[in-house]
Subunit: 238 residues, 4 copies
DNA sequence: TATGAATGAGAATTCATTCAT
DNA sequence: GATGAATGAATTCTCATTCAT
């Protein structure tokens, strides 16, 4: 593990080369094989690590799911560690891309805040594998993330969005002035994350399916109320 | 793994029965040793699984930390699965015991609610291993917990306490009437859990140490406000 | 490789526990199994490494030759490195034991010198595996030997013997006074070592079997002359 | 390994033919590149095999050091075996070339003998990789050398030179008559070879750096005395 | 002449577990 | 109640090599 190795293929995202003047119809040339193989492995690994964690993740299952060989895993990613890191980076990159695409109502900070919450929570609900990956990475004390080198690139604009939104609301006298955006983000995230990340133990203990859509929707409605009420102006002295 | 085996020794907590009125008496020699060994293994395993997860947990490290042998691990717990289950049960039992001991102000529901939140959050802060164990168990879709058989016995009174507290507040016209205690519990728990369970990735991404005591305290103050504001009567229509 | 591991069994030589009053007839008790297994592996490894070097040595062949399993190799020696180190230490220990047992004529330094040469040369001829092991260890720049920790214990009295012998001869006026014992030892050793260590390439190139007993004996006779002539008094000015 | 394959390009030395009378001319482009690549690979392989032996030698390291690819290694040399053989042949060819160039004083056999020794010993000192290669080839029982086919071509005139020199000295009554040139050559070679080939273990055991220039020079002086004394006439009966 | 992708076979090492006493 | 010896079956990773272009 962790030995430095020369690794072929592109490290970045798959070739989304602009089609250019020759039109969009270029056939999948041979070269794509490499990237396709690499991508299949990466995807299979994401599933495997999400399902079994890092230590529990098995190379042969990844290879099988990717319709490739264990050998290719090492060819493209060098080590199990390297593969996990690539999966993790991919997961963060996807989140960042989603964050960049969020649409918040610029004219209604209160509405925008709810949209923000909904985006965060829905992302968790739609990406259970991401939650699992984060848990695994935290088990590792974020060592892969810290080693990544691409960290800057991977961090999304989410806190910035929230800051902006809060500033807007404050400027309009709608929101109170003493809210820390980072802490608020953590609170919002926690409200959505925990219910899903711990759904199995919670379901076992509380006797209620935590991921069931209607219950989840009801919960989100209340959680959004909690957040909205908290930021509302005129409630500072509580 | 997983094979059921007949295993000697008690499965429950070690006999730490207070000697009581019969005096200090000579300690039962042999039995004592056995239970001491078993307890050391259990503790060592709790540390190991918290640090490395289930799949990443190593029998030899557990044995070494317990100043015992791998052989003894199997002697007492039958399998790695069995050992993990025992650790998990122990963790839940400890939580339950703590929950049973919570003191909430019976005359001031608002204060009681804050005490409740503080208890939950502090428990997480004081038991990082418990968080890790829960994450691992959720990775396993709670299969150990569900298989446990002792589940009833392990579930603490925490939701009951919250329900009671809410009912008190409602009766006094302090709290709104439409709060679901389970969802509120999940929200409270999430507010405290996520920040700590994901502290390493959050710290890496947000550039702020999420477990640092002062920051944590400030966060808890705000989170408590969020919860208090949410349950307060007269805010239903929001 | 090289990870520290707890390794069972004695690290030293096999139990040559003095029989004591109960007589020498103690039957091979169970306990001996471990040492017997360990010894078989060690011997098999010595053969394997001598035949194929370290990198070319195969664990499965060692296991097969030892009538054991690869697993046991790791049980007893922790790693391939550890096994090689044990083999090397064993080889040096055997040499040291042989050196301790050399008999040199105390009354005839000239004769003693020839006995000394003969001992060294014969040891090489009788232990081709030792030569191969030394070559392998030199390929590794003696890293195992230096890491050994038991180095003092492993170095034999051979240079001391030669020094003594030279001193005796000088005291009697038989040997010249300016001979460096270490350099002389290296010269003597080289005279015997090279012919055997390089016998295959030499045989191929020179067209004569370098290890053939009669040719070897003739060579030794001449080499002994060379050494004797060199140390003889009255030849200093050459 | 070992499979015979049809391989392009010359097996012998790269075309370093002096341009001669036909002038400097424009260098043949393509061919030049190919041979340069081949030569770089060969050199890199020599270093790699000298450093790690045959089994320990790694194709990727060779490729990297040669600023080429593993693929090219196979393109030019067909197999690891083939590559090693080429390296070995190159090493012997270089030795032969050096031997052909030795200058021995034709008028002073005693001096010539010392020159001979010095040449042999210095060659070892200047070519530690050659020593390592020989050791590796002896580990393989000289199978590559024997299979080479170019063996005649590769054997240098060194024993012939020594024979001639001895005959000269005998003719002049300076040297004794019963010296076997092959055995003497082996003795001389051994005196120089062993100290360097085993320098690491010797240094570890004897506590003195065997390759340190001054110590080495002193040793050579004494070793030359040993050889000179041995061949001198009038000492036959010893 | 060159190269990137791919690979089967095997290597070292580890893991959870059991046997015999 | 305890232990040292043993092990089958993985598991990660490497190696020399070949394919297709």
């Amino acid at each position: 593990m962790s030995r430095e190795r020369i690794v072929p293929g592109t490290t970045g995202r798959a070739a989304t080369a602009p089609a250019g003047p020759e039109g969009p119809a270029s056939p999948p040339r041979r070269r794509r094989d490499a990237e396709a193989t690499r991508a299949r492995i990466l995807k299979a690994a994401a599933v495997e690590f999400a399902q079994h964690g890092f230590a529990g993740g098995r190379g042969d299952r990844i290879a099988r799911r990717a319709r490739s060989s264990e050998r290719m895993v090492y060819y493209y990613f060098g080590s199990k560690d390297g593969l996990f890191r690539a999966v993790l980076e991919g997961a963060y990159a996807s989140l960042r891309d989603a964050e960049r695409a969020v649409q918040l109502d610029p004219d209604d900070p209160a509405r925008a805040l709810e949209q923000f919450c909904r985006f965060v929570w829905r992302y968790y609900a739609d990406h259970p594998g991401f939650i699992s990956l984060l848990n695994t990475e935290n088990l590792h004390r974020a060592r892969n993330l810290r080693k990544s080198g691409r960290l800057d690139e991977l961090v999304g604009p989410v806190v910035g969005l929230l800051s902006q939104l809060l500033a807007d609301g404050q400027a309009r006298g709608l929101f109170r002035a003493d809210v820390d955006p980072v802490d608020l983000y953590v609170a919002i995230a926690g409200l959505g994350y925990f219910r899903l990340s711990n759904r199995h133990t919670l379901s076992a203990v509380l006797g209620r399916d935590m991921a069931e859509p209607e219950g989840l929707e009801r919960y989100w409605v209340e959680a959004a109320r909690m957040v909205s009420g908290y930021v509302r102006a005129g409630r500072d002295r509580l």
